[in-house]
Symmetry: D2
Subunit: 350 residues, 4 copies
Amino acid sequence: MVIVMKESATEQHIQQATQKLESMGFSVSRIVGVNHSILGAVGDKRGVDPRELEILEGVERVLVITEPYKLASRAVKPQGSRLRIGAMDIGGDDVVLMAGPCAVEGEAEIHEVAQVVARSGALVLRGGAFKPRTSPYSFQGLGKQGLQYLRSAADEHGLLVATEVMDVTQVELVARYADILQIGARNMQNYNLLKEVGKTRRGVMLKRGFAATLEEWLMSAEYVMSEGNDQVILCERGIRSFGDHFRFLLDVSSVPALKERSHLPVIVDPSHAAGVRSKVPALARAGLAVGADGLIIEIHPHPERAVSDGPQALLPDQFFILVEELQRIARAMGKRFADNALRTANGQAT
Amino acid sequence: MVIVMKESATEQHIQQATQKLESMGFSVSRIVGVNHSILGAVGDKRGVDPRELEILEGVERVLVITEPYKLASRAVKPQGSRLRIGAMDIGGDDVVLMAGPCAVEGEAEIHEVAQVVARSGALVLRGGAFKPRTSPYSFQGLGKQGLQYLRSAADEHGLLVATEVMDVTQVELVARYADILQIGARNMQNYNLLKEVGKTRRGVMLKRGFAATLEEWLMSAEYVMSEGNDQVILCERGIRSFGDHFRFLLDVSSVPALKERSHLPVIVDPSHAAGVRSKVPALARAGLAVGADGLIIEIHPHPERAVSDGPQALLPDQFFILVEELQRIARAMGKRFADNALRTANGQAT
Amino acid sequence: MVIVMKESATEQHIQQATQKLESMGFSVSRIVGVNHSILGAVGDKRGVDPRELEILEGVERVLVITEPYKLASRAVKPQGSRLRIGAMDIGGDDVVLMAGPCAVEGEAEIHEVAQVVARSGALVLRGGAFKPRTSPYSFQGLGKQGLQYLRSAADEHGLLVATEVMDVTQVELVARYADILQIGARNMQNYNLLKEVGKTRRGVMLKRGFAATLEEWLMSAEYVMSEGNDQVILCERGIRSFGDHFRFLLDVSSVPALKERSHLPVIVDPSHAAGVRSKVPALARAGLAVGADGLIIEIHPHPERAVSDGPQALLPDQFFILVEELQRIARAMGKRFADNALRTANGQAT
Amino acid sequence: MVIVMKESATEQHIQQATQKLESMGFSVSRIVGVNHSILGAVGDKRGVDPRELEILEGVERVLVITEPYKLASRAVKPQGSRLRIGAMDIGGDDVVLMAGPCAVEGEAEIHEVAQVVARSGALVLRGGAFKPRTSPYSFQGLGKQGLQYLRSAADEHGLLVATEVMDVTQVELVARYADILQIGARNMQNYNLLKEVGKTRRGVMLKRGFAATLEEWLMSAEYVMSEGNDQVILCERGIRSFGDHFRFLLDVSSVPALKERSHLPVIVDPSHAAGVRSKVPALARAGLAVGADGLIIEIHPHPERAVSDGPQALLPDQFFILVEELQRIARAMGKRFADNALRTANGQAT
C-alpha cells in the first residue's frame, strides 16, 4: 500500500500512520516529497480496507497495490487458462459457440433447437429451467423437468449443457444435469451461491453483474475458485447505462482488460445486450472481433411463441448465416470456431 | 399498450399487428396520424413483453401504459402505507431512525452500541450476523450467535432488530431473531429469496440494487408482497456512477419519485453511499430533507477496531450531534423523530 | 507520482522507468515490496500525463499524487473563499438564493418575475437572453434586448443579474449587463469561453457538465482563474444516469466533496435536475441540507405560457412557500438566508 | 403524441388535456382503456415540450411519437447517405480509414506521419492544430501554423485533412485548410459552433458528447444540417461510465442503432476510448465488425515525444499490422477498405 499524507500533515500524523501500518503487519518506508510525504507499506496483505488508513488524521489518500484476487489473477497463469469441460476446450486459439433458447419450454421444442445448435457447429446447448424473471407473475421455468429435457436433447446431438442455477438449494440438482452452471448477472454477488457452485466439479459461467467493476467480477470468480473449482468462464453481457438504444450496454472493452488481469476465458453474450434480434449479429461480430473466447447466442425456432425473451432470439436461418460470417471473421483473425463434428464422430451422440 | 407504426408501415403491417394484439387478448383502436398510425390496445394485461410487438414488421415502438407492479403501486393506497412493525410506525408523519454497526462483532460490543442507539432515540438496532463480503477472505459474520447477541442487546434497550438475510436457507433462522429482514443491494433481484421472506410475517427492508431502476425495485417489492407480506420498506443506498467522490452515488431523487409511484415507506442509508464518515452527516441531512420516512446509519464506538466498514461508521458523539441536527431539521419540515421513550417507559428497557 | 512496477518487472525495467522519471525532472526513491517494486517520484510537476509511464515495459500502474488544479484547490485557502459580487456575499455562513425564469421572454414578464424574486428575499435574478436549445427549431432567446430587460428589471428591485453566455463572441456584451456570467453545463469544457470570461471582472457561475468528474469541473474553474478572475461559483445541476425518474440525477454528494477539495462556493440547481416542478421543492431542500452555499431556482408567473422549460418552473406561490421552508431548515442548520432588504433599504430599488 | 391519463383522472381532466392539445394545433382522438384513458394527438408538431402536458392535472405520462430531428432522420433517405468529400466516398460499401497524431507538433513530424498514413491506404490525415486540453497549463496547439503544416503534408501524399475547430471564431480559418471540420465531444452541444460549421461547405465530423443520447447527438447533426450542410459524419468515441478499465466506454451498439435512425455515415474512434495503445487494436476490430463506415486512429512515429495523448497512439509498425488485420476482417464481412491508390495514381501525391 502507498499512503499519501496531506500537505498539512504534521510529523505526529506521519508517525501515527506509520504505527498503524506496522500494527497491521506492514514494514514502512518513507519518501519525503515536495508537497506530500508518502509512506510505502510493504507486506502481502490482501483484504485490508484502505479506508481504515484514509480516516487517520493527516492522511490524504491510500492506494492499494496488490489486487484483491489471487487465484483469478493473470499473475498465476501468465499464458492464460485453457479449460477443458467435457470435450470442449476454451481459452485457447479456438472460439467456442453456445446457443439455445432463453427458457426450456418443452421436450419437442428443446430437441428441435438442439438440432439447430448442433448443425451450426456450436458445442454447447443453453436453456433455462429455472428462470429469474423481473415479474413474479411471469413464467418461472420448468424446473427439474426442464433440466431433463435439456440433458436429453443435448445428449442426442453430442452437445454440452449450460443452464442457470439461481439458488444454493438448486445447485445439487442442476449439477446433476448440466456441464456448465450459469450464474446470472443478478446473482453475481450472491456469495453463498458462488461458494456452493465452487464445491461442484462443473464448469461455472459467471455473468457480469450489470453494474459490476472488473475487480468485483473477478472477486466473485475468486469466491468460486477459493472452494476448489477453477473451471470458471467469465461472460460479458452488457451493463446498465443511460440511453434507449440497447437493453444493456455491451462493454466490449472488458474483454481485452480481463485478458490483462486474469487468466480466465471470457465469452460475450450479444443477445441480452441487444434485446432485439435485429442488433444481435452486429454485437456478436463485435464480441468476436474484440477477442472473446466464445459467444453465447439465443436462438428460437418459433420466437413468436417463446415464453421468455423471444424478441431477442435469432431464427435458425439468421443464426446459420451469422455463424458463417463469424467463422469468416474468426479466420481473418487467425482463429477458428471449435466444431462438434469430431465429438459426434466419436460416437458420443446418438 | 400503444403501438406506434412506422411511417413506412403498410396496411398489411397494421392488420398483422392488430391481429397479434387481438390474439393476446386486447381490443384495438386505431388512430391515423399525419406520419404514423397508432394502435391503442385496451386490456389489463400485465407481463406482456412489448418487444413481442416491436419485432413485427412495420412497428416502430411499443409503449406500455400499465405499470407492471400491482400491489406496490400507489394506485392501491393513494394515501400511502403506514406500516406497524412491533411498536414502530413508519410511513406516517414521523421519521424513524435505525442505527448500529455494520457487523455484530461480539456480545459486549453490540450491547455497548445498543445503549448508544437507544439513547439517541432511534427505534431500531441494525447489525449484520451474515455478511456479504466482496472478498472470500474477509470476515463473513458471526451467524446464529450474532443473531442471538443482537436480539438480546435490542431487547435490553427496547429496540427492534433489523438484520440481513443473504439466502433462502437462512430465512427461517433470521426471522426467529429479527423484526426486520434486510435484503441487501446485491440480492435485490434474488427472486427466490424475495419469495421466501414474503412468506414470513416480518418486516422486509429492501435495499435498492446499485443499478436498479425504480420499476425493477418495485417489482422486487412485488415479489415479496405477492407472497402475502406487505410490510415492505424501501431503502435507497446509492447507485453506481462515474466519479471518485463517493462510494455509491446517493440518488435522493428516488425518494419523491417512489412516493408518487408506490405507497411503500422509503428510508435512506447515507453510510454506504458516503463510504467515509466525514460525509455521512451531509448525506443524512439530505436524505431527511428530501422526504424520507427514516434513516439507517452506521455507528461504532470503536471504529478503528471494526471488522467491516469501520471507516464509514460514526462515533457515538458524532452520532448524537447529528441526531440533534436532524431533529431540528425534521421539525423545520413539520415532522418529528419517533422516539423510543414511550416503549422504554413501558419497562422493556433498563 | 508513484509508479508501481509489475511483479514480472526486471531490474532493467526498473532502471528504464527510473531514467524516464529523472528525465522528466523527478528525483526517484525506490521501495522493494513483497511482490512489487515501487518508485516514488518527487517533484512538483503538474500536467504530466501518467500514461507516459504506464506504457513503459514492466510498469503496472502510475498514481498521480498532486492534483492538477492549483488556484481552485482548497490548499490555497483552507478556510474557503468568501466572494463578494456586488452587494452579495457568498461562501460564508449565509445561504444565497437566485431565482427567475428559464428565458427572458419580454419586458413586462421579467419585471413581474423580478418583483417576485425580490419579495422572496432572493439576491439574484436569473434569466436567459441567449438560450442553448437542443433543437435548432426552438426559441433561441431575445439576445441583447433580453439583457436590457433583465438589467432594468433587476435594477428596479435591487437585484443582481445572472445570465448565460454561450460563446466567446458574446462575452463582452453579456458582461456589460450581467453581474454573474453563467457557463452552461454543455459549455463546461469550452475552454476558449472559459478563458474569455476569465478576463472579465464579473462573477462566473460554472455549471457542472453532465458527465464531468469533480477534477474536470475544477480544472474548468482553473481555466477561468488562470486568467485572473477568482470570482467563480460552482453549480451542481445534476448528471446523466440511467433511470426515468429525473431529468438529470442531482448529485448532492458533490457538495461536501467539493468543499474538501476546493475553496470555491457551491450552489445547487434543483430545477434542471427535477425537470418537473412537483419535485423541485424536495431537491431544493436536499441541496440546502447537504451544505450548499446557495440555490438557483426557476420560477415563472405563467409557466403555461413559458417559451422554455415552463414545466419545471415553480409558480410564485409555490416559491414563497418553499422559501419559507428553506429558511426554517437553514436556521435549523445554523445558517440563514441572505436577504436583499438591506440593499433595497440603501435606495437601490424603487 | 400520446397522452396517458391517470386512473384517477376525471372527465374534467380529460377535457382540459384535450383542449390544451387542440390549442397546440393537434386533433385529438380518445381511447377508453380498462384503467386509463388515452388521448392520441395527431399533428406533425416538432419541438413541443411533452412536460407541458405532463404537468396538467390527471395526466400520467406523455409519449412523443415523432422524433425531433428531420433532416438527419433515416426517413429522409431510407437507403442511407453516401457522402462525397474530396475524392472520398463514405457511407457506401467501403470502409474509410483516417489516421494521424493527436496534435500537429511540427512540420517534419507531420510529414513523417503523412507518409505512414498514405502508405497504410488511409484516405484522411487527422491532427489537431487547436487542442482542447483539460488543463490550462498544457500545450494548446500550433494554431494557424499547424493548419498549414497539416495541409501541406496531406497534399504531398494525396490525403484529405480532418482537424478540430473549437470555436466560432476559428471556423473560417480552419475551413480554409481542412476538408473535414471536427467537432470535439466537449463541443457537441456548442450550438453556435454547430451553426457556423453548417454554413461552410466542408465535411463535418461530429463526435459524440460523452454523455449524449443518440437523440441529442442527432439533434446536433440537425443544427449543422439546418444551415444547409448535409456532409455530416457521426463519430462514436466512447461515453462516460463507471469502471477503471477504459478511458471512455466505447459504445459499439450506437453504430447499428444510428443506422436505423439516421442516414448519416458513422465512424468509430477506438483511440480515445482505449486511452492506451495496447487496447486500440481490439477496439478498432470491434468498431469495424459492428458495422462502422470507417475508423479514425491515432498514430505517432515517436509517441514518447508526443506533446499530447502519446500513450494512446499506435506506432507505425503496429498500425500497419492492424490495418492488414482490419482489411481481412472487412473482406470477411463483404466490405473493403477504400484505398488512396487511385488518387495518388492521379498525380496528387509525390
